[in-house]
Symmetry: C2
Subunit: 244 residues, 2 copies
């Protein structure tokens, strides 16, 4: 049985402040929790699950504290509208060393505020083999439940850093910056790249001017129809697919 | 002042049954309502907005019934967690004539259940100049508030039809079917197409086998990293960008 203090503690992790103070986040659902147990077993601090789930996944659970809970208890601690069978408390990943873009492709996000978009971009990066994302401080929190769920497990593999994008980009000397804008070079005419910073802007305001001014190349996914813009995470996927 | 019966009526439109019985749907926010007023003025039946919004958009409002409401009233009828300044009741678009794929590119969706994904795909189609989408009956309802919001106005331009995909595809004689799967032909090696059905499957189960068997070409966005899959709307965007 879940004691009341634990129940309140887990519920509090839906909010950034208690989450950061405890240095943890929550992940829900079989797919996500399994990926975390496989990729980052030492980070999975506690697993709360229905009996059937614990029985079915006992081999994966040798390193984590587990607690059997009832469906009603799961309903109380879950952040999902349709709770799954498992919820885990995960240690936040260390992000002490700053990302470098030299010799690599890094995705740089300026003010991506929609949690679903940020999570989907982490998943995009993981699909296309991008190992690092740098985010401006205005981006959504990667440990918020909606971001974590949207990554579908990729949060365990892609390193994400919150940095002052301007000073970080200044330090990446010689690395070309490709900024996604509405009027730029057609990405389908470009060759693949092996090094570069791919800069994506806020869903409605785009990239801040002081960052846009630092771009070496402005790039565009050409429009054939009438939509005003593409969804930011779709745009990031299309660009990564074409350039990486 | 919003009378109680009207308030209840608008609230009921969050649900499919009352929405379909009335043959309407709701759209919220300046961008979306403006696009609908510009593209489909006759479909915009009633506009409920704060005084400042009505004043600022009076030129667009010559054909629609308008009603000034207070922020509290807006909060009560809005489906958004952060209500904007305007909500409109829109007539559902006619979809009486079935879509044909001959000479065109049509996006065919088999069981896309996440409303955000469906809305984003409609927006993708609009960006890449695809005029028609056919959906299996298991797809989310295009008139549900989350789908409408995610289209960002593209719902006014892209025609969407709910059909039995198998019999519809049988009728598109000679049109090639390109099915998005995890192991198929690398899309980056393919030439652009001018006619075809691009078939995208359910977020977790993919394309049903009976439809997959009808495909002329199985296509894939090659993976370089470790993510198990791409988000369905990102995949659709990447494929449309490459093939159209």
């Amino acid at each position: 049985m879940l004691v009341k203090s634990k129940l309140k503690y887990i519920q509090s992790l839906g909010h950034k402040k208690p989450r950061d103070e405890a240095g943890v986040f929550i992940a829900e659902g079989t797919k996500l929790v399994k990926e975390l147990l496989e990729e980052q077993p030492a980070s999975v601090l506690e697993v709360f699950a229905l009996k059937e789930w614990l029985d079915a996944h006992s081999k994966l659970l040798t390193k984590s504290k587990t607690e059997e809970i009832t469906p009603i208890e799961l309903g109380r601690i879950s952040q999902l509208s349709t709770p799954n069978k498992v919820l885990a408390v995960i240690k936040q990943f260390s992000s002490s060393f700053p990302a470098t873009a030299i010799g690599k492709i890094v995705l740089a996000l300026d003010g991506i505020q929609d949690p679903g978009n940020l999570g989907t971009m982490i998943r995009n990066a993981d699909w296309f083999g991008i190992e690092q994302i740098v985010c401006s401080p205005e981006c959504a929190d990667i440990y918020s439940p909606k971001v974590v769920q949207a990554t579908m497990g990729s949060i365990a593999r892609v390193k994400t850093f919150y940095v002052d994008l301007k000073s970080w980009m200044i330090n990446q000397k010689g690395v070309r910056i490709y900024a996604a804008v509405l009027e730029g070079l057609d990405i389908y005419t470009m060759k693949k790249i092996k090094e570069g910073i791919i800069l994506i802007g806020n869903e409605s305001k785009g990239i801040r001017e002081e960052l846009l001014n630092m771009a070496n190349v402005k790039i565009t996914i050409p429009r054939r129809g009438k939509a005003e813009s593409l969804n930011a995470s779709v745009a990031a996927g299309v660009i990564l697919g074409q350039l990486v």
